[in-house]
């Protein structure tokens, strides 16, 4: 019988208990302000809809640059994440601003097209100016036990990325078990992913704290054995600042200070930005402002 690559076992009940313990910490007031700003600077502001248009992408880029017009000192978000068709436009607007352009590629979200086409798509978005590529793994191959194909495809995409950073989406909602999540994380890291990412946002459940914890553990074990730091991006389902702080608490206690930077941690989200903005305002005004008082992206 073929034996797949070995990966550490994961205990779902114990991981869930540990993950929930991070939501019981109280963070110091001044730290909270800094952390809300950090969370904002770690956000990949995202629009991935069939109805996306150039107008929508323009609006999103402006939102990325000006998260809150009433607080000009806020940090900008880390990146704007769009479909391939809009990469050139986003790149032209964000050029020189420090905000990265990320694009989903590889037939997002299913990945169900021939590898050659997926690679072509990756080359296209990089040529159009994408700084970061968010690929999806071949879940069909993974779940049928064909791990070499999963790994080979990630390596091929990494090659096609050239200088662009590669985020590997595991789509954990389809992998279902935490053992799968751990194995897929290990494969993605070994194959050259710069980041590992939970979800496309198109499958429920998207990011959860237990899933993210297992991925952080894979990153930590890789760091312990190689000294190489891989980044993490939970995506989908994180829309509240409070939850984002729980994730940061988990990040801090699992990987430590070195990972507390947008270079190594991102939130894939859209509505999170406005809740962060409103919470940061509240730190100064004690008022949680109405939703119509924050701008749309």
């Amino acid at each position: 019988m073929y034996k797949g690559p070995s990966s550490r076992a994961v205990d779902t009940i114990a991981v869930t208990a540990r993950a929930s313990s991070f939501s019981k910490r109280s963070i110091k007031r001044e730290s909270k302000d800094a952390l809300l700003r950090l969370a904002l600077s770690m956000t990949d502001l995202t629009t991935l809809e069939g109805k996306d248009s150039e107008g929508k992408v323009r609006a999103l880029c402006q939102k990325a640059l000006h998260p809150d017009s009433s607080q000009p000192d806020l940090p900008t978000v880390a990146a704007v994440c769009v479909y391939p068709r809009f990469v050139a436009l986003a790149a032209s607007i964000l050029k020189g601003t420090g905000i990265k352009v990320a694009s989903v590629a590889t037939s997002f979200p299913s990945g169900q097209s021939p590898l050659a086409l997926r690679l072509k798509e990756v080359e296209g978005v990089v040529a159009d100016g994408a700084d970061e590529v968010d690929m999806v793994i071949n879940r069909g191959a993974f779940l049928s036990g064909d791990y070499p194909t999963v790994s080979k495809e990630i390596k091929a995409v990494k090659m096609a990325c050239g200088h662009a950073h590669l985020k590997v989406i595991l789509e954990t909602g389809e992998l279902e078990t935490l053992d799968h999540v751990r194995l897929a994380s290990d494969i993605a890291i070994q194959a050259g992913g710069d980041f590992i990412k939970t979800s496309t946002g198109k499958v429920s459940p998207a990011a959860t704290m237990p899933v993210t914890l297992v991925m952080l553990q894979a990153i930590r074990d890789h760091y312990t054995s190689t000294g190489v730091r891989i980044g993490m991006k939970p995506a989908g389902g994180i829309s509240k600042a409070k939850l984002a702080l729980h994730y940061l608490m988990m990040l801090h206690e699992t990987l430590g200070e070195a990972w507390m930077t947008p270079d190594l941690f991102r939130f894939g989200a859209s509505s999170l930005v406005n809740d962060l903005v409103r919470q940061i305002r509240r730190r100064h005004s004690s008022v949680y402002t109405a939703d119509y008082d924050t701008t749309l992206g």
Binding site: R8, A9, A14, V15, R25, S26, M249, H252
Partner: protein, 478 residues
């Protein structure tokens, strides 16, 4: 920029504590006697209150009141007794915050634990046994059941209210009356339980509470009119009680010490196992009779485990027990602190290596031991044999499952054990071979009112919790 300081989030301590307390005898509180002992808050060494020391006379009065109350309590229909227990459970829930704060001030345990474990679990025990009160004949089908009589119950200082609940709830449910003696350093919440009994209208004398130290306990054990003794505490005292009870016809259950093995196989979920190790030894500052204090790691993963444990301990927050962020509180008493210091010294002298990676500083006042572990521990070392009852872990190795069993069972104790493996058959085989009252698989320190708990060998006999936990309080005929 990313300063992750946690805000000190202390619970307010607006709870009433009297200057001194008397005993609850026959439904009335005695005035504080002249003979008293101080109760110290171990987190700041300040005197919280004074407890009266019950002498033979007071113990006798309490037993007499219990004997008197037994006449009517034991024949009260079970469903009526159950109502009182339900009422006590609800009242514990209503007063949960106050009880949690008192428990933390009196015993030094983190408010996170008294709030999330001690108090809710105490309420659960009353709820659980309230349910049994009118179903005793179904618990032991086809047999006649009846109450035993007056139960003398002596409880330890590590889980003051919870241990009171473990003892009192099944006794009352079965129709017995009780004289309870809480531990001398932590009597506050047990006395509150007495208040609660009064609030719900429990008939006078059904629950009596006398405070004091060893002599008070001895007076209770030796009292001729007590029918049943239940003791939780050290093996030394347990043996003395067993000797003194022998031949008297009194019933006895003992829940004593432990040096429980915690076994980690290489195929286990490693990160979760590390969490289990932390939970197993640092929960309640290691003041847990079933603490997983002997860690056996499969030799091939020793390095991985110690590295991860080292790092994990650095995230454990030691300090003010009333702070909601605190993971590890104060050592319960100066006496216990000295005992732990003695073991730390002995461990080093016998050649083991101490690792105490905790980063933060402990408060200046109070009794503190940062979480730590010894490596290079050999089975012959004192710290591998004797119960430390503190946040101190002894790490040892094994190579095969049979060696793990052999080493794990090589102890006078047999209270609990933990096994971490991803292989189901191996887990079941280990559970079968381990001589321990409880074997946890891929978890540790998980307790439930419906699940029996108790020991083998010098860890005692008799079970608490579950249907089995009510048996020591029943005469079962036919």
């Amino acid at each position: 920029m990313t300063d992750f300081d946690l805000v000190p989030a202390p619970e307010t301590t607006a709870v009433e504590i009297a200057d001194a307390y008397g005993h609850l005898i026959g439904g009335a509180w005695t005035s504080p006697s002249g003979n008293r002992m101080s109760s110290i808050n171990p987190a700041n060494e300040e005197v919280l209150t004074e407890f009266s020391v019950a002498g033979a006379d007071e113990v006798s009065a309490a037993v007499g009141a219990a004997r008197e109350a037994f006449k009517s309590w034991s024949v009260l229909p079970g469903r009526e007794r159950g109502k009182f227990l339900f009422a006590i459970a609800r009242r514990i829930q209503e007063r949960a915050r106050e009880l949690a704060i008192l428990e933390t001030m009196d015993g030094g345990k983190p408010i996170k634990e008294s709030r999330d474990v001690d108090i809710p679990e105490a309420a659960k025990h009353f709820f659980y046994y309230a349910g049994w009160a009118d179903k005793l004949r179904f618990a032991f089908p086809g047999r006649e059941v009846g109450a035993v009589g007056v139960a003398g119950q002596i409880i330890p200082w590590n889980f003051p209210l919870l241990m009171a609940a473990w003892k009192v709830a099944p006794a009352l449910a079965a129709g017995n009356t009780v004289v309870l003696k809480p531990a001398e350093t932590t009597s506050l919440t047990a006395l509150r339980l007495g208040e609660i009994a009064q609030e719900v209208g429990l008939p006078p004398g059904v629950l009596n509470i006398v405070t004091g130290a060893g002599e008070t306990g001895a007076a209770l054990v030796d009292h001729p009119d007590v029918d049943k003794i239940a003791f939780t505490g050290s093996t030394v005292v347990g043996k003395a009680i067993a000797k003194s009870v022998a031949g008297t016809g009194k019933r006895l259950t003992l829940e004593l010490g432990g040096k429980s093995p915690h076994i980690i196989f290489a195929d286990a979920a490693i990160d979760e196992a590390v969490e289990g190790i932390v939970q197993g030894i640092f929960f309640n500052q290691g003041h847990v009779c079933c603490a997983g204090s002997r860690l056996f790691v499969e030799e091939s993963i020793l390095e991985v485990i110690t590295e991860k444990l080292h790092r994990r301990i650095q995230t454990i927050r030691v300090g003010d027990p009333l702070d909601k962020n605190t993971d590890l509180g104060a050592i319960n008493s100066k006496e216990q602190w000295e005992i732990i210091q003695g073991f730390l010294k002995t461990g080093a002298e016998e050649g083991a290596t101490l690792h105490s990676p905790s980063k933060g500083e402990v408060p200046k006042r109070g009794y503190w031991v940062p979480p730590c572990f010894f490596t290079g521990v050999e089975p012959a070392h004192t710290i591998a044999r004797e119960e430390i009852f503190g946040p101190v872990l002894s790490v040892m190795t094994f190579r095969t499952p049979s060696e793990a069993i052999e080493r794990a069972n090589n102890t006078p104790y047999g209270l609990a054990a933990g096994v971490w493996t991803d292989k189901g058959a191996k887990a079941l085989e280990m559970a079968h071979q381990l001589k321990a009252g409880v074997v946890w698989l891929n978890s540790y320190n998980r307790l439930d009112a419906a699940s029996p708990f108790g020991g083998y060998k010098e860890s005692g006999f008799g079970r608490e919790g579950g249907r089995q936990g009510i048996l020591p309080y029943l005469k079962v005929d036919g």
